[in-house]
Amino acid sequence: METLEEKIDARPMTIPGFGRALRSEEMVINMGPQHPSTHGVLRLELIVDGEIVVDAIPHIGYLHRCFEKHAEHMTNYQQVIPYCDRMDYVAAMNAEFGYVVACEKLLNIKVPERVEYIRVIMAEFQRIASHLIAIGTYGMDIGAFTPFLFCMRDREAILDIFEQTCGARLLYNYMWIGGLSHDVPADFAEKVKRFCKMFRGTIKELNNLLSYNKIFVERTANVGVLPADVAINYGASGPVLRGSGVKFDLRKNDPYSVYDKLEFEIPTGKGLKGTTGDCWDRYMVRVDEMEQSVNIIEQAVDKLPPGDVQSAIPKRIRPDAGEVYVRTETPKGEIGYYVVADGTASPFRVKVRPPCFVNLAVLPAISRGAMISDVIAILGSVDIVLGEVDR
């Protein structure tokens, strides 16, 4: 009497043993360098066992322009600012903010209060704009296309405000060492308030459309869980760190500019839909942060003092030999500038600690054991901009 297996093997066109003792070994899959949902030129080398990711190795550097070498070769400190813009091109204001704060600390300049308030307003606007891109494209990665259009519509309103202020919509060169390139237009306060009123409604709309959408929650909750101690050890910052439940925001914990005079909350991940530190938490921190940014903008516009925005700009920028490390909070996390001056007119060394670079390093740790399709969800929730990863 032949067994069931022997019967199956005896069928025509059948490889004996196939299906029972299926050859099983790990396989390497390349994702990228231009995968549509990788947010830029990133290559992920995935080692998979079936559909489970055993290891993920990011290969970066495709957009490397050697910002740091450029900075050393500039004839003065001011010329570095446009290069800062081009690192994180969807949050250029925040990138320049860090650099000018570092240079001002090195030069020991006190900036007029009006300048500080305008900078904070612009930085928070940029934070909202950057988060809108992060949220919109994240929805698109998962398969929700409509929220992306809603997000882009609101981002456009912010870019209009930027354009009226400094003429540029994406790369501004707006914050200068000691001041700003332009004062705000006459009807600025009115426009900002109108935007804030409109935007609060938009956040509700976005929550109904995407945040609590069942399909979206199923795809993101309990996926890519990043425990708090791992996040800290990897140096993760921004929404990635706060999504893991760590209440740490440089605007509160290491205040710069006038953030200590403004009232706002730090949203953290609480594991409402799954585990603390999952993709949904990281996503939701961004949504909550946008609401806090609106609060900050409204307070700052009310407090905006009169004055000249260019009175403190130094005629000659030549700091004494010394070094400074300044970190500020960008939408992606903590950007750090380590600027070394040697007493000449150009910087001796400018090292950037880009938040995306550090956050991306967490990716292999949290995608181990996930499905291939979840890797897209995890990568989107980390929110990287390759221009900043590669510099």
């Binding site: 970066i60 050890n233 400074v324 970190r327 380590y338 600690r353 550090v358």
Partner: protein
């Protein structure tokens, strides 16, 4: 804890490993450590209850010119909210330094970057490859005496 106390703590524990220190008159106080002792100092700083430096903010390579290279570690404690800067000096002839990758995972990619840009070799690093430049690139671009090569794999480099 103020920087002076942090320095005293390291000094009493490690003694000779502290090569130099500057606490007053600088924006960020720093302590210079011998290259072969940096990992032990880092472990102590992370695990000591009163110091608890749980995060490495930034790790930078630097070329001081004249054959001298350096590594700068900016540390921060989320628990106590204090900071310190550590420095390590190496030379072009002997660019070896012990990796702190096992202490803070942040160092993994940052050390790869310092290796890529300055040629500083971090002993005990699990995966010391180039990170930003192509894997077969020659030379270390951020060194002050770096010359841009004419050709890379048959392609003209200067544009």
């Amino acid at each position: 804890m103020i920087p002076q106390e942090i320095h005293d703590n390291i000094k009493t524990r490690f003694g000779d490993a502290v090569v130099e220190a500057k606490i007053d008159g600088v924006i960020d106080p720093w302590v210079k450590i011998a290259p072969d002792k940096i990992k032990e100092v880092a472990l102590f700083l992370r695990d000591d209850e009163a110091l608890a430096f749980d995060s490495l903010m930034c790790l930078s390579g630097i070329d001081y010119t004249g054959g001298k290279l350096g590594v700068v570690y900016h540390l921060h404690s989320i628990k106590w909210n204090h900071k310190i800067t550590l420095k390590v000096d190496v030379t072009v002839e002997n660019p070896h330094c012990v990796s702190v990758e096992s202490v803070w995972k942040t160092a993994n990619w940052h050390e790869r970057e310092a290796f890529d840009m300055y040629g500083i070799i971090f002993d005990e690093h699990p995966d010391l490859r180039r990170i930003l430049m192509p894997y077969d690139w020659e030379g270390h671009p951020l060194r002050k005496d770096y010359q841009v090569p004419e050709f890379y794999n048959g392609m003209k480099v200067p544009y």
